[in-house]
């Protein structure tokens, strides 16, 4: 029986993520939880989130969930979304600089928000539907067309040290990382739970994933 734990650490809207998972996997158990035992028992772990990185890391540590994330990110299909993705890197420039979980070596940087008027097409946050260029073949991209639109809302983006972990890019001001993959970890900057068909397909692929690439 597939059992997906959606990690609840008090950051933002988890309802959409759990409802979207329920929609694509009606036979799976979807549990929004902050209970470490439940998360460790699950077959799949979803690490969602919106908000700022300092609060995100602080809440994870306060609830003892950082250890649970280390453990599950090593051992089972693990999907991180948006701030969840950014938290996996070593360090973020947000909030004056925050050390993060360091599961993927690299940094999190901000889009340039001091632009000239003629660059007004690149406002920050990067908010809306942008095309995602898949750079590797991966089970999570199955049945998703190249250059599909996904919904983004963020001001920071990840810059991994090892470029081979990049699974997709998108373009805004410059090319940036839209998805990362490393062993059984997959991480996306966009919100699959808000990206209609393509997003639901990615979530379905995640639930059907065994963690091998």
């Amino acid at each position: 029986m597939r059992h997906v734990a959606v990690i609840d650490y008090g950051m933002g809207n988890l309802r959409s993520a759990s409802k979207a998972l329920e929609t694509v996997a009606q036979d799976a158990v979807i549990e929004v939880t902050s209970d470490p035992e439940q998360i460790l028992k699950a077959s799949h772990v979803l690490f969602p989130g919106v908000g700022a990185i300092r609060d995100c890391i602080a809440e994870l540590k306060r609830r003892g969930l950082d250890e649970v994330i280390y453990e599950s990110a090593k051992s089972k299909p693990f999907l991180a979304i948006c701030i969840g993705m950014q938290a996996l890197l070593s360090h973020s420039d947000e909030n004056g600089g925050v050390d993060s979980l360091d599961l993927i070596s690299g940094n999190v940087k901000k889009f340039n928000d001091h632009l000239e008027r003629d660059q007004a097409d690149f406002k920050v946050p990067h908010m809306g539907w942008n095309q995602v260029q898949q750079t590797v073949s991966h089970p999570l991209w199955q049945n998703i067309e190249q250059a599909s639109h996904f919904y983004f809302v963020h001001s920071y983006y990840t810059v991994p040290d090892d470029k081979s972990v990049i699974a997709a890019t998108a373009q805004y001001q410059h090319d940036f990382t839209a998805a990362l993959h490393k062993d059984n970890i997959f991480a996306v900057q966009f919100h699959p739970e808000k990206s209609h068909h393509a997003g639901l397909q990615l979530l379905e692929n995640f639930i059907n994933w065994d963690g091998q690439s």
Binding site: S16, K19, T23, V50, G128, Q133, Y172, S195, H196
Partner: protein
């Protein structure tokens, strides 16, 4: 490859039903919010905005249930505005499945509320809604002021300065409504839209006055808006979101199909 311009149908919700007030008086019934939202989602809407127009008078439970019901079936971004006054109101809407909240009059009575809200929930979910009305005379340099109470009450606050201030306070997006144009079906106030959009570094949604498809395209090309919001043009089946996108694409605007 670039960020698509967004089309956002707006559902004015009164006691759980979608309505559209024409200049806030003549109200026609356009249906069940869940059904309407599903229809727009199928047509390719990029987001959906709910404006709870009963908010200042009635219990707000109804809109919470509407958002919960829609968010369980429609997987695109949802914004809720109307009667958002406290951090607790925001939390309730986000927990119900909203991605963003629109703050309007509470920002005017207490600008610090916007700062607190952005710090607590992140700028990405804080949309400041601005209702502006032209106050300059013919021949003068154009100037707009913030109005409240459905456009009846002036505040003396300059709209461009207000937009800048709200962004400084943490607004992640501006929903700009021209009170002169709202309900007239004569197109956006393009000069106002451009003035605000060129003054702030966050996305601006143009609203108020859409009567035909070309108005949407003009809002982006001439008004420099990042997104366009409309209600009645879609509610009564005059046009679909898909038709609007087709027309925008023909005129060189990047859209999502």
């Amino acid at each position: 490859m670039t960020l698509a311009k967004r089309i956002i149908p707006c559902l004015d919700v009164d006691d759980g039903r979608v309505v559209k007030g024409v200049q806030f008086v003549d109200i026609r019934d356009a249906g069940d919010p869940v059904e309407v939202a599903k229809r727009y989602n199928e047509q390719g809407a990029d987001e959906i905005t709910f404006l709870d127009i009963t908010a200042t008078h009635h219990d707000r439970e109804t809109i919470v249930h509407v958002v919960e019901a829609v968010a369980s079936q429609v997987f695109i971004p949802l914004t809720v505005g109307g009667g958002i006054r406290k951090l607790e109101d925001i939390r309730r809407m986000l927990n119900a499945g909203a991605d963003k909240v629109g703050i309007n009059s509470a920002a005017i009575t207490n600008p610090e509320f916007v700062r607190e809200a952005a710090e607590k929930f992140g700028s990405q979910c804080i949309v400041v809604a601005i209702d502006a009305k032209r106050v300059s005379e013919e021949g003068e340099a154009a100037r707009w002021e913030i109005f409240t109470h459905g456009g009846r009450k002036g505040t003396g606050i300059d709209a461009v300065e207000w937009a800048r201030k709200m962004v400084d306070y943490g607004a992640g997006e501006i929903l700009l409504t021209s009170m002169d144009k709202d309900g007239t079906k004569s197109g956006f106030d393009l000069e106002l839209t451009r003035a605000i959009s060129d003054s702030v570094m966050v996305p601006v949604i143009a609203s108020g006055g859409v009567g035909k498809l070309q108005d949407l395209t003009d809002g982006i090309k001439l008004g420099h808006a990042d997104a366009v919001l409309a209600a009645s043009i879609f509610h009564f089946g005059e046009h679909t979101v898909g038709e609007a996108k087709q027309q925008m694409a023909e005129q060189g605007i990047e859209v999502r199909f």
